[in-house]
Subunit: 329 residues, 2 copies
DNA sequence: CTCCCTGTCTATAACGTTATAGGCGAACCC
DNA sequence: GGGTTCGCCTATAACGTTATAGACAGGGAG
């Protein structure tokens, strides 16, 4: 039951001063090679690991990356994978992963403010960025390191990873047009979020190019409740029976909307075709007739982890940014 | 750009000593009510929040609860909800949530050992407990506070929350028998895990009582790959066409197995019935013909959060334990 | 021989907190 | 009036780390 080794332990064993041990482990230039060697050897043998509290108190570095995300509803599926991927990206680094979720009804700024004010992380990772996102504005204003899944107008100024939803929108409409579909119903993401606008822009552009008509479903969004999506799609189809294509922004929305089509007796592949984006390998398992475009969340998480670390350790460097193209099935 | 307030700041403003301020905020008995009042007032005004590194260094308390879970595969769905629920349970407490996932191929003991050795959390929460689970043994041996989702043989000695899978197994078979089903195929969880054994025991018991025959699918488990489950179920049905009931341990297994039945042209409700356990409200949305038994993960997470905190702060108290009954649809 | 440099190492202080021992005046008792 | 007790407060040290300034020996230059 020996206590945990500290610098003092190594100092005692080596006959050196605590400060020397510290500097030797830091590879400081004014420590002889022999000393460094000896210190490192002892440190290894007794399994020395720096005490986080000591380091943090002295340096202010927490060695913590905080993920601040909403963890509810369907969205949780993708968020969970993203967090898992970030965790994977943090493996082998000295960073710990902290989760500060916010819940519906909570102010998304609260956890952010807390972290910034108490300096309780070296960097923050957020997702679901909106145009003019206050979290982005706040952290930029305070010079607090962060990385974002998604872009706002000020995307130039911070690290981000984003899926190219505009390319997805274009690709999806082209795929449907390629199957001869002329009138496409789109269950779009909430347009308050940046990625929703991007996707819509892409779909519109490709619709113009291919001579396809794009009908954006009103009163529902792809993050809505299944029942709402399904019943609204049924209504829309009743009033617009020429619709022969479906463009969905999420796997759940796709399932729900397809259900709406099927309620009219329409069959996928025969009476209509569907393209959907899937980040969680969901549709491939249950509705393989749907044309799937995959969003690679693992890549996103791994990138965001590295981007956050770079933002924390090297604020001078240009921010890491990556626009990920859609992967066709 | 004023620096963060510390005890020293309050000491300066109040004219008291730092130690007095500290004790006043701790409500120590030998500080006058007037002083306490004054100190608290100032602390509130300047927004004093204790520095975690300082507290941790001095007291050893990290104010961190670490969740150590595997974050991969289908299981991720439920794990994600569990983590989210734990986070919800931690809201309003002074505890931060740390995530230390392990990945397939990783040794599950590694993160546990790290946390215990470096004392980097006040308590740990684990899930998917197995009989003789080495994580449980290790933490019990080291007297490290933890709470578990699931029980092992030594369940008496530690805090846990568990879903009553035995009751679920019984209930499921009874429901099928109640619909006149006589020969039930069960897609069971991996029997290496405690909950799998429980569920199987319950199913067997109810089968005996109701005169139902229970056929446990071999070579597949409910956490397996969709395709494997589906094709194995097809094989089994080909060799055993009298099967008219399905008991699934997870929503994904249910979907996959139902797919196998349907591949034989069998229809749910007419040719067979299905009972499945669902923790993520999945089946209700997509296959409502299935009889669903709900496992309440939110309750589990909230309970585990409180149980972990109690284990950390009050090791003398008897461990919090709760066996949650299945909720019928 | 003195002076200065260079290469190593060390003493000290500080980050913010809290446990411990002690100080000091006022009130109380005999 | 002298001693004790009580109520309230403070000084000090310590947790583990690292930045800073400085110490000390040996070597080279003058």
């Amino acid at each position: 039951m020996s206590a945990r080794p500290t610098l003092k332990t190594i100092a005692g064993l080596s006959g050196l001063a605590v400060a020397t041990v510290s500097r030797a482990l830091k590879d400081a230039p004014d420590i002889s090679a022999a000393t460094k060697q000896k210190v490192r050897q002892i440190a290894l043998e007794i399994g020395y690991v720096p005490d986080r509290a000591g380091v943090r108190l002295r340096t202010g570095k927490t060695n913590v990356i905080s993920v601040v995300m909403s963890t509810e509803h369907e969205m949780m599926n993708m968020t969970a994978r993203l967090i898992s991927a970030i965790a994977a990206g943090l493996r082998g680094t000295r960073y710990h992963l902290n989760m500060t979720p916010f819940f519906s009804g909570d102010d998304p700024m609260r956890p952010i403010r807390y972290i910034v004010e108490t300096a309780s992380a070296d960097a923050v990772i957020i997702n679901q960025v909106e145009p003019g996102d206050p979290r982005v504005e706040y952290m930029l204003a305070n010079g607090f390191p962060f990385a974002a899944h998604g872009r706002s107008e000020r995307a130039d100024e911070y690290p981000w990873f984003d899926f190219d939803n505009e390319a997805y929108g274009r690709l999806a409409v082209r795929k449907l047009a390629g199957r001869g579909r002329r009138r496409v119903l789109m269950v779009a993401p909430p347009l308050a979020q940046s990625y929703g606008r991007h996707m819509l822009d892409g779909a519109h552009a490709a619709a113009r190019q291919t001579g396809t008509t794009l009908v954006v479903a009103d009163r529902i969004t792809s993050d809505g409740r299944i029942d709402d999506i399904r019943s609204r799609v049924i209504e829309i189809l009743a009033g617009d029976p020429a619709i022969d294509g479906l463009l969905a922004a999420s796997p759940v929305a796709a399932m729900a909307a397809v259900g709406g089509f099927e309620a009219h007796g329409l069959r996928i592949g025969r009476d209509f075709d569907t393209v959907a984006k899937d980040a969680i390998d969901f549709l491939r398992l249950f509705r393989s007739e749907i044309m799937i475009v995959t969003e690679d969340v693992a890549r996103a998480g791994e990138f965001l982890a590295r981007a956050a670390i770079q933002a924390a350790t090297d604020p001078g460097r240009p921010p890491m940014q990556f626009l990920d193209g859609p992967a066709e099935d």
